[in-house]
């Protein structure tokens, strides 16, 4: 395989991975606070359609991304109100949020189907983005660099700040956190809003960096892959980055292998397509084997908090 093709594969892989990484980072923080939000797909679709609509209307992708974050956080607040304030079942409410997001985005997006926008491309000069080697570092949308920054930011927040410690405490033992005076519900509201904003930005990657259009169901089920990624990464931001790029690489290699033809065809496409899920199942098995020694799921994940 020559160097040009390798670089091309890397660039496509990073693009395919970025929405997964952003949405999964948000969900990681949500789950660390003890909340399981299965509505990622719905929030991503909402972010995708709002990001597209605002970018199309204003011509400014930065505004589009901002609006996508607000939109994702807004719909996540429906989930937060139902599950945190009213203590509704998180699994059922999360699924409902996915269905709501699919329906809302279809309705809201109707006037925007069949309209093109420009891709949100690299802001570096052409001499870097078109350089045969250096473009592997520079030929990306600002959203890609943002996602990498957020990996570090989430890691730093969770591990190095007092607020992160409180968030983890709320997720590991909500009653203890409550008894020493922290607002469990308040922390979780914040986490869910952050998760919604990140899923919204992740969704906006679809029209902004992958395929500059809006159609119904644009995210194509990738919200579920983001959910699997959080488990795959055992709730650690660094592993999440590796996992997102691995999942993106598998998805990208499927297409490059098919396009290359020849001996690559030995692996059937259905196998390529199922690899991310297979990998997640394998990792789940590994986690449960090593359960005693390594930290995995937050102890209060998915349980409603009702102060006694």
């Amino acid at each position: 395989m020559n160097i040009d093709l390798t670089i091309a594969i890397i660039i496509t892989m990073v693009g395919a991975s970025t929405p997964l990484l952003l949405a999964a980072l948000g969900e990681l923080v949500v789950e660390k606070s003890g909340v399981l939000n299965l509505g990622i797909e719905g929030m991503m679709l909402t972010g995708a359609v709002v990001g597209f609509a605002v970018t199309y209307t204003t011509g400014n992708p930065w505004l589009g991304i901002f609006a996508a974050a607000i939109a994702g956080a807004s719909v996540s607040m429906i989930f937060a109100f139902l599950t945190l304030t009213l203590s509704a079942n998180q699994v059922a409410t999360g699924l409902a949020l996915t269905i709501f997001g699919a329906g809302f985005s279809a309705l809201f997006g109707q006037p925007f189907t069949g309209k093109p926008i420009a891709l949100f491309k690299s802001i570096f000069p052409d001499s870097l983005t078109e350089h045969p080697i250096l473009r592997v570092f520079f030929d990306y949308s600002p959203l890609v660099y943002f996602s990498l920054f957020m990996v570090f930011a989430v890691y730093w927040f969770l591990q190095k700040t007092r607020a992160g410690l409180i968030l983890r405490a709320v997720g590991e033992n909500d009653h203890s956190a409550h008894s020493i005076g922290y607002s469990v519900i308040g922390v979780r509201y914040g986490a869910v809003a952050f998760g919604g904003a990140m899923a919204g930005i992740g969704g906006s990657c679809f029209p902004l960096i992958l395929t500059p259009q809006w159609v119904e169901g644009l995210t194509g089920g990738r919200g579920w892959i983001a959910l699997a990624l959080v488990v795959f990464a055992a709730w650690r931001p660094g592993r999440l980055l590796a996992g997102a790029y691995l999942f993106g690489l598998i998805a990208t290699m499927e297409l490059y292998a098919k396009a290359a033809g020849g001996s690559f065809r030995i692996i059937p496409s259905e196998l390529w397509a199922s690899l991310p899920y297979l990998a997640t199942i394998i990792v789940l098995v590994l986690i449960s084997i090593r359960h005693k020694t390594s930290s995995s799921a937050p102890a209060c994940l998915g349980k409603p908090f009702i102060p006694n």
């Binding site: 040009d4 093709l5 091309a8 594969i9 496509t12 693009g15 395919a16 279809a106 109707q110 189907t113 069949g114 309209k115 093109p116 891709l119 679809f206 992958l210 395929t211 500059p212 259009q213 159609v215 119904e216 169901g217 644009l218 995210t219 194509g220 990738r222 998805a251 990208t252 297409l255 490059y256 098919k258 396009a259 290359a260 033809g261 020849g262 496409s269 259905e270 397509a273």
Partner: protein, 361 residues
């Protein structure tokens, strides 16, 4: 089992009881027809569903709103949900129901049996019933025209075909495209990538990127959207084609031309036959000649000699002097599939499960 049968019998009875309301005699002339259209997506998709809805509107214009009244149901998933929709439409007194997706077939055949006096029309279907007709378009004829353009314009000699699923219609679209391209360039290669979906634009885009990164400079696609064309535009390759409708808005430089589906001739014919009282079970499969498959405008960058060649293929298919699948055809494993002087006829069309020599799939 008995209970279910009785329930079905009741339904049929109920439907029969309604018949006097919806038209006393199936073979009599009608003053007005109530037609329903079931779509798998929404008419604003700029592709498949858009084409059907446009056909519906033109049918109303042609026949007059006083003669035909239509109902459109959008976003109907294939499978059990569609069966409910078809039954409801039949119960509501529609005289003719058009199901515009391949996957509606089982549901339509089932409901058609229960409502013998309602006419059903199954787009891209393969099986008829006394009150169920099928209709399709010869999209592959359009593919021959696109292949001619691709073969003449490609500099790398490598074209791509992004498909949804390897169903006969897609396989034959690939063969038609490739065989036409090989007439212009005997070494032409067509790389095929299936994305296992009708609607996953992000995957379609990445497939297009993978193909362009490996030397492809002309892309065509058999999915419902413009995603691959947009990549062609972004990468500045020679180009691609609109599928189902003109998609030049998405790729002003890369959009070489398009295959446009025109369903109105068939919809006018079907509803008119119902008005005239001579609707019959049958199958319709028209193409360039019948005006159901139309080649759109050419991009200004397509050279005059290429347009002339494309138009010649089009004219040849219309007058019968050019056949998209004229022998000799060897498959990509080296077996001679069609002898010189022979063609793949309409009956053999649906059984083809091989690709022509030079197709990498």
């Amino acid at each position: 089992m008995k209970l279910i049968n009785r329930r079905n019998a009741l339904k049929i009875g109920g439907a029969a009881a309604m018949l006097p309301l919806i038209g006393s005699n199936a073979f009599a002339k009608k003053d007005k027809v109530k037609a329903a259209f079931v779509l798998i997506g929404t008419p604003d998709d700029n592709g498949w569903n858009y084409g059907h809805d446009l056909g519906r509107q033109e049918m109303i214009t042609a026949l007059g709103a006083d003669r035909v009244e239509t109902t459109v149901v959008t976003n109907v998933a294939e499978g059990p949900d569609s069966e409910r929709v078809f039954r409801e439409l039949a119960q509501q007194g529609h005289d003719i129901i058009f199901g515009t997706s391949f996957g509606y077939g089982d549901a339509m055949l089932k409901v058609a049996k229960q409502f013998p006096d309602v006419k059903f029309e199954w787009a891209t279907g393969y099986k008829t019933a006394p009150n169920l007709s099928i209709y399709n378009a010869r999209f592959h004829e359009g593919r021959s025209v696109l292949g001619t353009i691709a073969g003449m314009m490609s500099k790398t000699g490598i074209g791509a075909y992004i498909g949804s699923f390897p169903i006969p219609e897609v396989v034959m679209g690939i063969n038609a495209f490739h065989l036409a391209a090989r007439k212009a360039n005997p070494d032409f290669i067509t790389k095929v990538v299936y994305i296992d979906s009708w609607n996953d634009p992000a995957k379609e885009s990445d497939a297009a990127r993978a193909l362009v990164d490996q030397g492809v400079d002309v892309i065509t696609q058999h999915t419902d959207g413009p995603a691959a064309l947009q990549v062609a535009e972004e990468r500045g390759i020679i180009g691609g084609f609109g599928q189902g409708a003109d998609m030049s808005a998405f790729a002003p430089n890369a959009h070489l031309t398009s295959i446009i589906d025109i369903w109105s001739p068939y919809y006018i014919k079907a509803v008119k036959s119902l008005l005239d009282g001579n609707w019959k079970e049958g199958g319709s499969w028209e193409g360039l000649a019948g005006g159901e498959v139309v080649i759109g405008d050419y991009n200004s960058k397509v050279p005059a000699n290429v347009i002339a060649a494309a138009e010649a293929v089009k004219a040849g298919i219309i007058d019968g002097s050019v056949h998209p699948f004229a022998g000799p055809i060897t498959d990509n494993k080296g077996t001679l599939r069609v002898e010189a002087g022979d063609v793949i006829d309409d009956g053999e069309f649906w059984a083809v499960d091989w690709y022509a020599e030079g197709v990498e799939a």
